[in-house]
Symmetry: C2
Subunit: 630 residues, 2 copies
């Protein structure tokens, strides 16, 4: 099985550019791809808020209702806002595009950096949360935490490299199982609550709430709100990835967005209602006896039977796979940045399966570094999270406000108000999130976003400079100096007398009549001195056919260095002949198998690289390959 | 500070080949270099034997005396044997050389492989033992075990890369402190024992021995002997490294060897006597309350004061630094193998400080892999140990027997008998060691030695084949076909119109009148189509000065691939013109700073590599560099 077959097996066959249309997907398969991040929030958003409310006891649980309402309203505003963005930017209206086009390049870069940071964190945190859940079920796997995380990351990477359509199919079952199971729990729970007049008796005994140790202050409520707002991350995914939808693209994208948000809102609301009805609060995370809110809730409604196991299984799956949404969007942001030359051109191009492979690999690499550094336990990264998303939300909505100001239309006024409301709401939320988490780690996010923006600007400046230097627009090939220039001086480094050297010399005497062979002689260099044999081997036979023979120059090396004397020689010849080009013909043995390559000296490659880096404009390097074992 | 200055600081200034004589050392500084491995055995040899004897209770301790006597006698035989080897092989008589010259290449390779395996294990085990000792003193360092091991390994590597003389100076103090402290303990202990009529009272209370649970069987004694024989590892070091001694080389080497063995024998004997006098036995390793035999012994003789602390400190140092002997010898074995072309030529050459740098780095890399795989705790590797040393001893002695058979001399008969005794004794010991540890891991050593021998033979076969293929001994440069061959067809891949491409085209039209520019056009390839502008940019100006202009060929790419269409084009031209050489001139942007290099596409490098690998004999690759920001 050769390399090509392995690639075929891993990634599937290469798709032609014109097959793009067939790789697009509908709402049903887009939902698992683009909704996983948002929907998985149902598993941790309410829990995060309740954990903050823990010291307030029963009052805290009563506060969950209004808090959830606020979050759902915010989500509704964001959803309607993004619905408009999708309509206005049918080619993909991620925060970068919207902010750039309406607020200028700089704020566009801030939005892009914030979003990219969040995507990387989402992958690392999502994967380690999923693996953490598996490990709390099977504790004997604990020593393999990191390996499991990396395997999961590799699988996600591979599935996404295979293309959008295949990824959608893989994530279909767990996503819809999650929605179905949680939805059924909510409906059954609410029905029971109504039937029992608001006081249902739990199927599994519910934990006693700890006594309140604090009153429900405004600060506590704001902190709970900030934590609960992590439920909004991932909502922007659809607007960024509009082009992956089949026609009618805009309508499908809008419907998918509304579908995701509606399902998420229902799950969050159901969760709040049931927590109150069954008196379910958070348990101290990281302590003995910890149990997640959803686990308590499903247990209380449905008991601990098969349904409980299936539901918890689907929650684990969705948590671990929520990273997938990042794999959809991160490469698209990279692509847009690369098109605008804020990233290397590799990120702009689609790979064999029409996805932006370079971006997928970059995301996987960043997430892998985080997972390895934190050994698969990324709890400490959570405070860095969500800030990026809210920054991006805010810039995106603010950009849309500007957009409506510039583009008059029939619904302009209504749209402007809607987006302005969104911008203010998400802006305030961003401020709340940054303030309440600043010392816990949000400052790192702020620094990282700033650093990324600087990096992108430096990269951009570099590309502009390179273009300015090499651009010659429509200057024709200047030719006046061409006939005047003399033939190049050809230098051939030789180590010993063999067929490889012979071939290089034969090639050289065709290039120029001024060929110089140069041999380095010294301890440890292994050179059979060629001086004695040069006349018989080279000079006489060449003179016989009327060709000027190359001369042999010997360079001594008294400190066992090979390259320094050679380079010195080449540079001396170059400097002594300011009007001539220098062509260095490097004899090189080539071996096709990598393990044989390990056995050859890489003197030729090193020499070529050094000449390329140090040679200067007049030095051209020629590889004269000799193929071993043909 | 540039790369050159950093190298200067890390490794010291480059030494000229003729400075070799000044890098040689005398016996006093050679002892820490070559004796560390052997001397450190005093810290674990008796302990290893006593641990095996543990079930036999007090009878086990009484058996230590005769066992130590046997080991010391064996050591004496080996020492006398190697003394002769040094005299017979003044250029370094490692087991590889002696076995190869007298028993044939194959057995030489077996000896070399066995020794190399042992050297790698010695580094990993020595370093982790040293770090383990430090950690048992400062338990809070435990989470950093691996990092500490790797730092220690890096320091050893660096010191050895700086040259033999500097390494000797670094290890001087700990080695002589170790000898001094342990020697003083032995003398004081023996004096106390004699003064008290054989029953000295310990300064610190000695642990109660556990009750015997087994009788002292022959099997138990043999196993204890096999474990105790680890004390002999490292004795061969001097014979291998004879050339590092100042003149009179042979005499200095012999004196150093005898000195090392004599000190080690005294330490071992003292240890056995004092264990018996103070009733000191081993404690169960890895269990709570474990204390090393030497720690008990020093405590019993001198109490737990400052002397105790200094002595234990010197033991820790010597254990961790015992790896250094491997750094002296492993690279020399590699050097010899490379000279005989069983390893790549890099291993044969001396680096900037006249040491075999490639071998030092290879040893460090192997040891680092072992340390990382076992996370710095290499206890499980100990059963693999010592087998290599005894295999090498046996082959070396057997080789010397053959040597004396071939080289008659005045002391021939005596020498032959001595080496034959050594061969038989070490051969039997090797058998005992392999048998008693076979299932614990010795089988792995046997397999690894076999694998290494096979690898060396394959490498050798490869080099022989390459030489056979490229060797043309004194065939002159054949020239009959030279004038007949037509000028090459030059192919220039162009992406867009810029100065880089211009320069490549100008170089090309000087090479041949048949130049073909080729452009790949397709989605994601970013090509500004050149067809329209070719006439104005290239054809007209060149025709004006009387040069045949290059034609432009457009190659479509409908699946976004860049290299495949280019290679297909080159190979098609090559196959359509079987009588012509093909020269591919690759325009290339060169950037000197590595971080800028990251931003350039590496299309030129990839294309050059692919052409080199796939092009075949008639394709020559030319780099036409364009230097950015000059």
């Amino acid at each position: 099985m050769n390399g090509r077959n392995i690639a075929q097996l891993l990634f599937g066959s290469r798709l032609a550019t014109k097959e793009e249309q067939e790789e697009r997907i509908g709402g049903f398969s887009a939902l698992p791809n683009l909704g996983l991040d948002a929907l998985s929030s149902a598993a941790y958003g309410p829990e995060a808020a309740l954990t903050i409310l823990l010291p307030a006891g029963a009052a805290g649980i009563r506060a969950l209702g209004p808090l959830t309402l606020a979050i759902v309203v915010l989500m509704g505003i964001v959803c309607l806002s993004y619905r408009q963005t999708i309509a206005a930017y049918p080619n993909g209206g991620g925060s970068y595009i919207v902010a750039k086009e309406n607020l200028g390049e700089q704020l566009g870069l801030v939005a892009a950096s914030a979003l990219m940071l969040d995507y990387v964190l989402n992958v690392a945190v999502g994967i380690s949360a999923g693996v953490g859940a598996v490990i709390s079920a099977i504790p004997s796997l604990e020593p393999h935490t990191l390996s499991l995380c990396l395997v999961l990351l590799a699988v996600l990477t591979l599935v996404n490299l295979r293309g959008v359509r295949e990824a959608g199919l893989v994530f279909l079952l767990p996503t819809y199982a999650f929605i179905g199971c949680l939805g059924a729990t909510m409906i059954a729970g609410v029905a029971k609550a109504i039937a029992s007049g608001g006081h249902p008796s739990p199927a599994t005994a519910v934990r006693e709430l700890p006594h309140a140790t604090a009153t429900l202050s405004i600060v506590l409520l704001l902190r709970a709100f900030a934590s609960g707002c992590t439920a909004l991350t991932g909502v922007e995914a659809v607007s960024n990835a509009v082009p992956i939808f089949r026609a009618p693209t805009t309508r499908r994208a809008q419907r998918t967005l509304v579908g995701i948000v509606a399902i998420l809102a229902l799950l969050l609301a159901g969760c709040a209602v049931l927590c109150r009805a069954y008196h379910i609060g958070a348990t101290e995370p990281g302590r003995a006896g910890y149990e997640s809110v959803l686990s308590q809730l499903v247990g209380a409604v449905a008991g601990r039977g098969v349904f409980y196991a299936v539901t918890m299984g689907s929650i684990f799956c969705v948590l671990s796979l929520s990273a997938n949404t990042s794999f959809m969007d991160f490469p698209r942001v990279c692509h847009l940045l690369a098109v605008d030359r804020y990233l290397p051109p590799e990120y702009a191009h689609r790979g064999r399966r029409l996805v932006f492979s370079a971006g997928i690999l970059a995301l996987a690499a960043c997430a892998a570094v985080l997972l390895i550094v934190f050994r698969g336990v990324t709890d400490r990264l959570i405070p860095l999270f969500a800030i990026g998303a809210f920054l991006a939300f805010t810039f995106s909505q603010a950009g849309m406000v500007r957009h409506w100001q510039k583009h008059p239309g029939s619904h302009r006024r209504k749209s402007l108000v809607l987006n302005a409301t969104g911008a203010v709401a998400t802006g305030i939320t961003a401020l709340v999130v940054v303030t309440s988490k600043f010392l816990e780690g949000a400052w790192i996010s702020v620094l990282l976003v700033g650093g990324l923006v600087l990096l992108f600007r430096r990269i951009h400046a570099y590309y502009r400079e390179v273009e300015r230097e090499t651009d010659c627009a429509s200057t024709p090939l200047v030719t006046l100096d061409l006939p005047a220039k003399k033939a190049p001086i050809v230098i051939v480094p030789v180590k010993d007398w063999n067929f490889v050297v012979q071939r290089a010399l034969r090639f050289s005497v065709k290039l120029s009549s001024d060929v110089r062979a140069v041999q380095v002689v010294g301890a440890d260099i292994d050179a059979g001195d060629l001086r004695r044999r040069w006349r018989a081997l080279v000079e006489t036979p060449l003179r016989r056919v009327g060709i000027d023979p190359p001369r042999l120059d010997i360079v001594p090396s008294d400190d066992r260095r090979l390259f320094a004397p050679l380079l010195d020689y080449v540079f001396r010849v170059r400097d002594e002949n300011p009007d001539r080009d220098i062509t260095v013909v490097v004899p090189e043995k080539v071996e096709r198998r990598w393990y044989h390559t390990l056995l050859l000296t890489h003197h030729a490659s090193v020499l070529k690289t050094l000449l390329l880096l140090e040679g200067g404009k007049r030095v051209v390097v020629v590889s004269a390959p000799w193929y071993l074992r043909e």
